[in-house]
Symmetry: C2
Subunit: 517 residues, 2 copies
């Protein structure tokens, strides 16, 4: 990538660079592009009022427009695919059957599903806020900046998240920020520079409006309150206690309240407060009556899950809390089976021949499949045997990543570390992991700004596309009926090329905006 690295980002003087950085920090402070401080001992905010800007790139990062458009174009197909999967209990069970004995989260979720099945799900409609993540593949691919030439690498999917998808608000704000500095000429390099940062090259991002709009549609779909003791219906944000990343959650609440007419949106900590402050009526309305609503009691139309994705959240209390939500009439974002579809093992199962065609037409399946890299379960199948050979070989393993079925960040094993890691693990536990071909992105240059300071150099980016959808359990042989299916917006995260992890809120990368060329 020598060619573009010489041309981009613009080479600012120290004085100009420092002025820009000061402007960026102030913009973030004024626009809630912030994280709460975390006590490194407890991993929780030590003082919930202390905050600092989330990591962002100083400049937008080059990204081929064709691949950006392609990713966005795929999202409604991915939505359709995952909605259909989420209604195919048998298929999901086949996909995760081997996982259940070795993955306590899979076991807990499947157990809750079986519990609910005994009495039947009360709500046929579900809502999805999904995020499909991609990287550019082709380490030596060129980013040709001359008109008419196109990027010769391709776009590969890292994962598809169906549950508690984070980063939408942070990404929305980063996009607004880079647009602000473009509008105010802060990036202006004069006419002589080969790459012009213009608004036309920065895609707009409307995640906050899209995601809150999707929750609003679900709320409306729920209809009027059924319970006589409730005063009204409301959306419930089910959240983790002491979250340090509230700037990613809260704006969705504010956006619901800001609608005309306003949609009441409340939040509750999962699982303790949820159990304490909700009740299920006989007809399974979910009522919410915390002390901070005074004597008021609201009926939950939509349970938007921003908690319940970690194993430790499913102790006895956690299971009971999730069971209550799943038993209820509330529309879940997402449904329990849609949640399970976020497992890597499910992603892996989709790479099997014919798997996609089970859910979507062949023409759409081909488009989706073109974004797949090789994935293998580490089980006793033929594919599993091949995966074991690849994973235990110090040479071959370099091209792979070992991922626990539910990633959650920070638990992946990269390349040459895989053989030793597996050797340290009883073979009975290997089934909890999948082996995935490593995506090698071409490096471009940028300047990263985070709490650890400035970092200039080669970077690689991950593009996430947010999809929102509303679906109803299918009838007459169809998996599901799509009630709404949209591309909501995107997230774009960039990290130093030598860092394996990508988690901005944990300090491994920066929110960013693609500079499309």
């Amino acid at each position: 990538m020598a060619a573009s690295n010489e041309q981009y980002p613009p080479d600012f003087s120290d004085e100009r660079g420092l002025a820009l950085i000061s402007d960026i920090i102030d913009w973030q402070i004024n626009h809630g592009s912030l994280l709460k401080h975390i006590d490194p001992e407890t991993n929780f905010p030590d003082d919930p009022s202390q905050c600092y800007p989330v990591g962002v790139t100083v400049f937008p990062t080059l990204f081929p427009r064709e691949q950006f458009d392609r990713a966005c174009g795929l999202q409604t197909i991915y939505n359709e695919l995952y909605c259909a999967m989420a209604e195919d209990e048998q298929w999901i069970f086949e996909a995760i059957r081997d996982l259940i004995p070795v993955d306590p989260l899979a076991a807990a979720l499947w157990g809750i599903h079986e519990e609910v099945k005994k009495v039947g799900y009360a709500q046929k409609v579900s809502v999805g806020i999904f995020r499909s993540d991609y990287m550019l593949d082709g380490p030596g691919a060129e980013f040709p900046l001359e008109p008419g030439k196109s990027f010769d690498g391709s776009l590969k999917q890292v994962e598809l998240n169906t549950f508690s998808c984070a980063g939408a608000t942070n990404a929305n704000k980063a996009a607004e920020m880079h647009r602000y500095f473009t509008r105010t000429n802060a990036y202006d390099t004069g006419n002589g520079h080969p790459i012009n940062i213009s608004l036309a090259a920065l895609p707009p991002n409307n995640n906050i409006a899209s995601l809150s709009g999707c929750l609003a549609t679900a709320h409306d779909t729920y209809g009027s309150k059924k319970s006589v003791v409730a005063t009204e219906t409301a959306v419930l944000f089910v959240v983790q206690p002491n979250n340090f990343n509230i700037a990613d959650e809260r704006p969705l609440e504010y956006a619901l309240w800001d609608r005309d007419p306003p949609i009441p949106a409340y939040r509750v900590n999962y699982p303790v407060d949820l159990l304490q402050y909700t009740t299920l009526t006989e007809s399974r309305e979910l009522l919410f009556h915390p002390p901070w609503l005074g004597s008021k009691c609201v009926e939950i139309s939509v349970a938007y899950m921003r908690a319940g994705y970690e194993t430790h959240e499913y102790d006895t209390i956690g299971r009971e809390a999730r069971l209550r939500i799943e038993l209820s009439m509330a529309i879940k974002c997402p449904s329990l089976l849609a949640h399970i579809c976020t497992f890597k093992r499910v992603q892996c199962a989709l790479t099997a021949p014919g798997a996609l065609e089970h859910f979507i037409p062949a023409s759409k399946a081909a488009l989706i499949r073109s974004t797949f890299v090789s994935m293998y379960p580490l089980d006793d199948s033929d594919a599993g045997a091949r995966a074991r050979r690849l994973a235990t070989d110090p040479e071959l393993s370099q091209n792979y990543i070992l991922k626990p079925s539910l990633e959650g960040g920070g638990h992946n094993i990269f390349g040459e570390d895989i053989p030793d890691f597996l050797a340290s693990l009883p073979e009975s536990q290997w089934g909890a992991y999948i082996l995935m071909e490593r995506i090698r992105s071409p490096s471009v240059s940028n300047v990263l700004l985070s709490s650890s300071g400035l970092d200039s150099g080669g970077v690689i980016s991950e593009l996430g596309v947010f999809g929102t959808c509303l679906w109803r359990e299918g009838t007459e042989g169809r998996h599901c009926e799509m009630l709404q299916n949209s591309v909501a917006g995107w997230s774009f995260k960039t990290k130093h090329e030598d860092v394996n992890e990508m988690s901005v809120v944990k300090g491994y990368g920066c929110f960013d905006t693609p500079l499309l060329f």
Copy 2:
């Protein structure tokens, strides 16, 4: 105030109170209602990215609607008065003549004025962003909450600020915050409670739109660029370096850029960067060409002063910087003489018989005068002699405050501390102070939330009314011609009743919203 204290604020359970406080902190983080951390050693931000919420009241604070409306109604008269004063050099000189030898800031500003006069002011139009501060007077006055009864105290002016008026944005956000919690029923106490916090009782506050709108009008009034080397005109925010209170300044810049068409707004540190990055053309256009604008050079239409109010800012470099601004064609916010009108000594001079009538019609003067308390210079006049008797008497001094001519916060001497303070000062320095009758506000109850924690109890509030105006030097015997004259919005600050100082950003009080009754 026993009556209202029993009824207000609502008595929330600990659980409900903690939930509300958590919601408040998150709202502030998400809406830029923040301050940067300050290193207590240097008084500057130690790390410019670390921030925390500005102090706010948990509930809005009771305030009589009649007095709020009265204060707002007076503002256009105050605007008119101060614009007229600002064009009467002789009157101002008489008012501060004795101050010049003892107050280095007064001496510096007057010196710059005399310098500019030698060549003449190049710009006849000025813009004002003023803030008139009031407190309720009448320590035993009742806050009758029954309909039809009115507050039996009165409204008295604390001071009128003409320069670098802070708090507009912070106040705007506090008002939005209390409105948000009202809209979302967080204050809802059910039907049984005597005081209902409703949107109708909370006045809206549009400071950000009003102040930026006023700067925009001034920008338009300046007209097109005169210099051939400039690419465009722009508003310049002249600011103090390393400001910790950027959340009060930046939103005005953003609002200018957000206009359609956008108005370019840049900021420059005073005085060093201002001297380095501006030049004055022969025809006195003020050009701005910092390294962060690349090769671009803009012509300053409006110089909005948020720096230059402290004595230490007028060393040789500071004087040169201010002189350059004042010599320029740029419309100043405010003019140098309008700046001098912010001195307490000028406020004191206005209390002299006939002073107001020199500028405004008698009917308007009477309305203004009704907000005055007694003020005395500590000079050799008859009034001064009386002031010395009051100030040096341990008994009598209790009803007074001793204020340096330019307050700037933190330098007032209260009541019984005055005699000892004056005794410690050479009498030749006494002329730098004025003695002002103390305003005794009735106490009401509220809960204050600041970085030092929660504080429940008796509180008193200060209402500031923001006025914006644009005026041209008068002709044919008139002091000035008003081109625009508006009430912009308000600030409302509340502190514990036992604390003398009122400075939210220094931790002595909280931004608040009046709950009008």
